[in-house]
Amino acid sequence: MSAPPQTRTITVALIGNPNTGKSTLFSALSGLRQRTGNYPGVTVEKKIGRTSFHGQQFTIVDLPGTYSLAPRSPDEMVAVDVLLARRDDVPQVDVVLCIVDASNLERNLYLVSQVLELGLPTVLAVNMVDVAADKGLELDLGRLAKQLHVPIVPVVAHRGRGLKELKEAIAKAADAPPHKIANPLPAAFQQEVATLQASLEKRGGKRVEALPRYLVERLLLDTSGYLASAGIAGVDEPLLAEVREARQRLAKAGLPVPGVESIGRYTWAGQVLEGVVKRPAERRVTLSDRIDRVLTHWLWGSLVFIAVMFLLFLAVYYVPDVTGASWLLDETLAWASNLVIANVPEGAIQSLLVTGVIGGVGGVVVFLPQIFTLFFFIALLEDCGYMARAAYLMDKLMSRIGLSGKSFIPLLSSYACAVPGIMAARVIENRRDRLVTILVAPLMSCSARLPVYTLLIAAFIPNLTIGSGWFELPWLHAVTLFAMYSVGTLTAIAAAWIFKKTLFRGPTPPFVMELPSYKMPGIGIVLHRMLEQGWAFVYRAGTLILAVSIIVWALAYYPRSDAAIDAVDPSLRPRAEQLATELAAAEEASPTAEDAEPTPEVAALREQLAAAEGRIAGLHLEHSFLGQMGKAIEPVVRPLGWDWKLGCAAIASFPAREVIVATLGVIYNLGEEQDEQSPELKETLRAATWDGTDRPVFNIPVALSVMVFFALCAQCASTLAIMYRETGSWRWPALTFVYMTGLAYVAAFLTYQIGMRLIG
């Protein structure tokens, strides 16, 4: 406080109800100067932004949107702790900036009355004045400022209007003593709070310091039992006994806890708003009302909902391909790989850069088109007000498995990709519901499983069709694919139900959801949110994914020994070298343009060289740590019908499921360039035999067992990494990996064993 105001940074806490444009105001104030992180131990996102005004620096702490400053969970406690300066990782708050919805002042003032009780300098930003005007409300903000004794600034957050005035008001408020308002709760209640405080004071100074007046009041009001058991310093059994007695006295006096708070605050809000809000005599039917009538209609509403969800799903599935975003990423990565291959001599460094680093970076950026697309849609739906309607329409369905309507979109998105799906689960405010949603999201059959299904179905499932000519349906292939999607979905439903009955048992959380007015979405806000989510993924999960990719590369590369290959086939490496020399000579003898047909001689040499190199790569992999691991786990995977090569491919695909296709290519001596459409790879898989026998590895039960395994396993480092970042703990990704791998193993085992009995 001793520094002159020009050099002091003012810390501003931004708080407000959900759907008031709080995030928009935060972005408008801090622009790109913001950092996000996590508060340790909770799943609340920590967003801190910076801005300045006439040389005055501001730090803005964006608190989670809330209707009430009454913590009933560790997540909700964060806001209270920040405001009461009880957190070391956030500077002491100088000014509280409270944003309210002008069209809905009565309910917004509930939170305002709690904020004002904290005794901090407060500025009120009144947003959405246009929506209020639509509803025919006339507001006298000057009168409101007089009633509340706080500066009031009207803003239009999505147009950036009123920001200058807002910063000016904040700077001024920081230096002015706050005006304490009369506490809106009844005198008898306040007397009880004072008595509790006095009793604390009698028992020792430290307790009083630890328990500010507001927390004592909350302790008296919190019948949910959270604060009593949250381990707050100063809260002990004698104090809780006094709290219980106080509650009994209040109930006798006709002021029962917790009702006394809401009745008191809403009565106060009604008095404050007297003469501030003039409502039209007849309630006006707004455009928003008319839209809502259609969108919540049993028939039209359902049809629109299905259309919107279908569009969202198609977009997340196809936009990355259709727009060429995936192609561009692939080309860029291929270009980078070629650049490395051209400039770095062959060996460990080249392989690390190409497979470990570029492959790892690819594993991160490959998700960006999907994350961008999904969050473009989610931000759009959220900003226009439809998101809450989607949850409203789907709630009944989701409640059957113990979740709420808010879990629907995260789970639907997970069919495209679990990573953005898990990120989208942030809208679910109930911790148990959010965790269950996150835990089952990876069971939805995502697009990365498709290459595995495509390859194995095409190679091993008989192509039975109905019809002929242009109407030829490969029905058995379609049924198999559908079965794989169903396995995931049904398992997810069962898993969610079991999680809710066991690990996350508890009372059904209240489903109390505001249905905000519809409005035109702001394109700037939508794009901002989309980029923010993409960046959050790169920043939060990127390094972890890269690390996993490098570790798996090292396992597949080391210990590299040419001697081991010579021991198997002494002539192999010399032959490859000789072929390379012959090929170079032949190419020089008859130079051809890059895209022209090579001469038969050159083509033959190229083929032979590729075969020899493929075999060398296959032998290297067999001798690597990964190959050894594959052999070590062979007894474990044998009951699934797998040989060590399949086991090895399953381990190698830990970073990402689709990697299995390339790994199978290497392990079957075809090199890395194989994809799921490759005819050679299909041929090779069909011809593969158990080592030292001519019994084929693959038959229909084995192919199905591999597919079922990949349908249910958690082979995706990105999913586990984002899970860690979203939950702030390794416990949940570890649990997911264990339960999904366990399920996958059992299901693959049953598939193979039953399949073998059937084909007898």
Binding site: R279, K396, L397, P507
Partner: protein, 84 residues
Amino acid sequence: MTSNTAATPLSKLPIGSRGRVAEIEGDDEVSIRLMEMGLVPGVELVLLGVAPLGDPLELELRGYRLSIRKAEAARIMVQVIYEV
């Protein structure tokens, strides 16, 4: 606690009814949440509709719209102003 016997649970009202809240039953998290959202004794509300699958309900009160499940609405005792 409320002496009025004419109060009906909100979950039992026909769509389109208007009523005044008489009492919120219980003192657990659910009832705190309802009261924080403005469902306190004396407030007027309109039951606007129900989701296509039969639950939850859509209400209007204090100039905004709120969705709650029937299980929660069963705790809200309402004096009917008019039924449709």
